[in-house]
Symmetry: C2
Subunit: 546 residues, 2 copies
């Protein structure tokens, strides 16, 4: 019944000790028969800690839950939702399509923010904040922008008890209000480049939503820049997609494919859209970040001009670029497995969890003392470490719980380890005995070096694994029937493309796949369009996507 | 005409090189006759940099603007708006009452965030994120909450092109949605305390707005906690107002008075509201942060219950607490003077500005080289330093500009300083020659120590000055006529109070002053209510407020 109340001691980063969590009930109800955990009523009974501890350890084998989530291979979507619920990443909000980002999920977003915020500042951008309410008339000024966004708008029509004269759009993105302000700030070429960013919430009235991947409201950063020349704007757009690419590879261990969107898939209002496309565990593509060269589309619509060095009035050249909480979904779906989430060490809120193990009461103090020392050593060397010294669960339960949370390394310390001055270390990315090493000396410099080394190894290993998965699931195609075959197998198809927008839409209709991008990395040699047989300058990648 | 286009080289923290800024025009137009700067057309002419530089330096005395803002003593409100415009802190958004927070203003907010975010985590709170759209029915659940907030709501009535079945409130605060989620997360006493915080935007449809102080949308953090006992909730509410108090004193150099709100002034839905009240330069009070003991008001309205250690179902005890971008307004109005903004070093985005000075072209390289070395030395020791090496303005202009921006210390380096291996250092808080010290050795360890010492001195000095100002403007009163006299002089009145809510409202009606708080620090001895002559347990502070 209440058997899945995992949560009473999920204090991490000193979080809500939050409980059982009703929102898990859907998934739980579906899977109750999987579970062998004894009812919560028993484990929450008022036994003495000691008796309870012994009892728990003695029975630990019986009490470790089996799979508490849907296997990934069985139902990828159900698995994804189960991981989000069980790893306590997010919850549904009361309004359809909205999401509450819980502390553990938010901590992943904070890791993304911390890295990118530094990179943005290093490349000369300043943070600022624009209001989220945009007069409706602004949205209408750029023709393709209004066409792209008007079906998705949330509109404020009543303020302070009165019907408003002009409806207000809750920002779906800020190009229009940014241009309104740029027009006031930019006068001369000396005011350029103007490089800004904001961390904000945005609202898009999506019909089909999915936690992190597509929600009615989401968090993101949106960069907006203004330049004196088209070349500078292009360089900026490329610079920012490069920063996203590096972030994806080096921090998130996601081997995205970076490229240019087709005209059909270009952002509403942009000249060119660059994108990073990530292959999820079900081989669907996720657009994980975009950088737009907006040309003069918005500056012409808003009259954003500057006086150049020769005294001539010109429209500014612009870019915008964004990464959102969607990226958290990408991390889950790239690395997760049947045991739950698997986090790359660089963005893991907790990199190492220490689980102390004792059977007898007289062992407890020594074990906990050693665990505290180990925690201290690692913490001082800058490792994000959590000691799960809770009395209320068995070590086995804790193993599963922190595996579900995707913590890269687990350190186990029992009485024998204390006696020998060593610990046992298990890798999240290598299940079972294979990932377990015994007898690692507790000696601080040794332990610190070992752990750092292992974290680096895991980081690389996750990336390599994801690259191998990606590459084994991209098929080079030279005809449309090849393409259809590849897509029907659920793979990505890469082939030369110079056909029309209509042909592109036909592919979408017939296969469900879209052009994800024309990748920056292009094969050498003569290319012939897979659809028309005409010469083609580039290969495109087609895939089904989120 | 365009004479006040200060902005071409206001790159700070690598910001928008943003310009002249039309929004300054109002203030500028009003004050054009004050200015002696030569027209921008000339300073922006296409002379060679060298010729221009010499010309500029030669004419520097004539070209330094005088007061470019309304004197504070003359019109406090106009001064405030001028500082915000000229120090490039914020701009008006296109929707009435909204504000664009510009990079320099946002950097102050980031300094506030950085400090508080660490303190919140140290005290066990986790960040998370709740959706901003709240079903209208939620707001109606807590009686006094709906009464307090319903006049200020912005309502979304259309989403995705369709009229919504239930109107959505754009969050004015999140107690209701937080309780909706708490009800799902909290089951047992083991789930408590639950300690969370979010950094978010909020919307209140205010009629009379003022940048930073009261805007239709603003940024804040809102903490929300749930506890098993009323004592724990009370302790939490006190702990958080203490953190705010320490932040105000130690970081912002604002000597707030901390206390409890009267029943009339208590937050809509709270049992008790604690507040930090700051005295602005015009002696009006600013409520700069609040912490609420919500008791069981929301948990009863939302049915948020837990099972206690004895198996009994109880409603949780809650708190909420917030500081917002309003605090930036408080910093401006506490420390600013006729020369503009004055920032306490601990929250100044730029703590030290270096202004190199040269007359002849052959001096330039040596001066700039020395300036770069000084910058490097300070930066490496963790000081936030900006080198204003722009070719386009005179040193005098730069002095004024960075004084306007409130930078605590200025380092001047000219050819003679280079020759003697020393620099000149000026304090923002002590104008003219008195704040200027010549011949400080450039030797790194000496310079670093001197600068750090001076920054500490300025930090203390700003606080001491504000304390003296505050204390000289609080009048102890023992009768209502004393109170009226004090308020009519623009001062704060402190006197014993045990009268009714009606009496409190009468004071407001007759004097414009409200009870700001019953301060935590209370005088000893027997007290008699200034209004009724009845015994009183506490003194209250009355003041006009923002």
């Amino acid at each position: 019944m209440l058997s899945l109340r995992l949560t009473s001691f999920t204090h991490l980063l000193s979080p809500p000790s939050s409980a059982a969590i009703a929102r898990r009930s859907r998934a739980i109800l579906r899977r109750r028969h999987h579970l062998r955990q004894r009812p919560l009523a028993a484990s929450f009974s008022a036994q003495s800690a000691t008796a309870e501890t012994q009892d728990r350890v003695n029975n630990s084998k019986n009490r470790v839950p089996e799979q508490v989530i849907t296997p990934r291979s069985q139902d990828f979507n159900a698995w994804y939702l189960d991981v989000i619920a069980n790893a306590e990443l997010a919850d549904y909000g009361p309004v359809r399509g909205t999401m509450v980002i819980r502390p553990y999920g938010y901590a992943i977003w904070e890791a993304i923010q911390e890295y990118l915020n530094v990179k943005f500042k290093e490349t000369g951008h300043s943070n600022m904040y624009f209001p989220q309410f945009i007069p409706y008339s602004f949205i209408e000024k750029e023709a393709s922008h209004v066409e792209g966004f008007s079906p998705e708008l949330a509109l404020v029509t009543i303020g302070g008890g009165k019907e408003l004269e002009e409806k207000l759009v809750v920002r779906p993105t800020s190009e229009t209000i940014v241009n309104h302000m740029f027009t006031q700030w930019i006068h001369s070429y000396r005011d350029l480049p103007l490089l800004i960013n904001q961390w904000a919430n945005v609202t898009r009235w999506e019909m089909r939503t999915k936690p992190f991947v597509r929600t009615l409201e989401f968090l993101w950063q949106e960069g907006h820049t203004a330049h004196a020349t088209p070349e500078e704007a292009e360089d900026e757009a490329i610079q920012m997609i490069d920063i996203y690419t590096r972030f994806a590879y080096e921090q998130a261990a996601i081997p995205v494919i970076t490229g240019r969107k087709s005209k059909v898939e270009t952002f509403a209002g942009a000249c060119k859209t660059y994108t990073i496309e990530a292959m999820m565990g079900d081989k669907k593509a996720l657009q994980a970040g975009t950088s737009h060269n907006l040309g003069q589309n918005f500056s012409r619509a808003f009259g954003t001009q500057f006086t150049d060095e020769n005294g001539v009035r010109e429209h500014i050249w612009q870019t915008s670029w964004a990464i959102s909480t969607r990226f958290v979904g990408g991390i889950i779906m790239t690395h997760g497995d049947d045991a739950g989430l698997m986090l790359p060490p660089k963005i893991a809120p907790i990199q190492v969890v220490i689980v102390p193990i004792w059977k007898k009461d007289d062992e407890k103090a020594a074990v906990l003392n050693a665990a505290l020392i180990v925690k201290d050593v690692l913490q001082k060397s800058g490792i994000r470490v959590k000691l799960d010294d809770s009395d209320q669960r068995t070590p086995g339960w804790k193993f599963n719980f922190w595996e579900m949370k995707g913590v890269p390394l687990r350190i186990e310390i029992g009485p024998r380890d204390v006696a020998s001055g060593s610990v046992v270390i298990s890798r999240r990315d290598i299940p079972g005995k294979q990932g377990k090493v015994f007898g690692i000396s507790m000696e601080p410099s040794n332990l610190e070096a070992y752990v750092k080394d292992k974290l680096d190894e895991i980081q690389s290993s996750l990336l390599e694994r994801a690259i191998a998965f990606r590459d084994s699931n991209i098929v080079d195609v030279s005809t449309y029937s090849d393409l259809k075959a590849a897509i029907s197998e659920g793979k990505w198809a890469r082939g030369p493309w110079s056909a029309s927008d209509e042909d592109e839409l036909k592919v979408k209709e017939e296969t469900g796949a879209t052009i994800r991008c024309f990748p920056f990395e292009q094969p050498q040699g003569i290319k012939t369009c897979l659809m028309t047989g005409n010469p083609a300058e580039e290969v495109a990648i087609f895939a089904k996507s989120y």
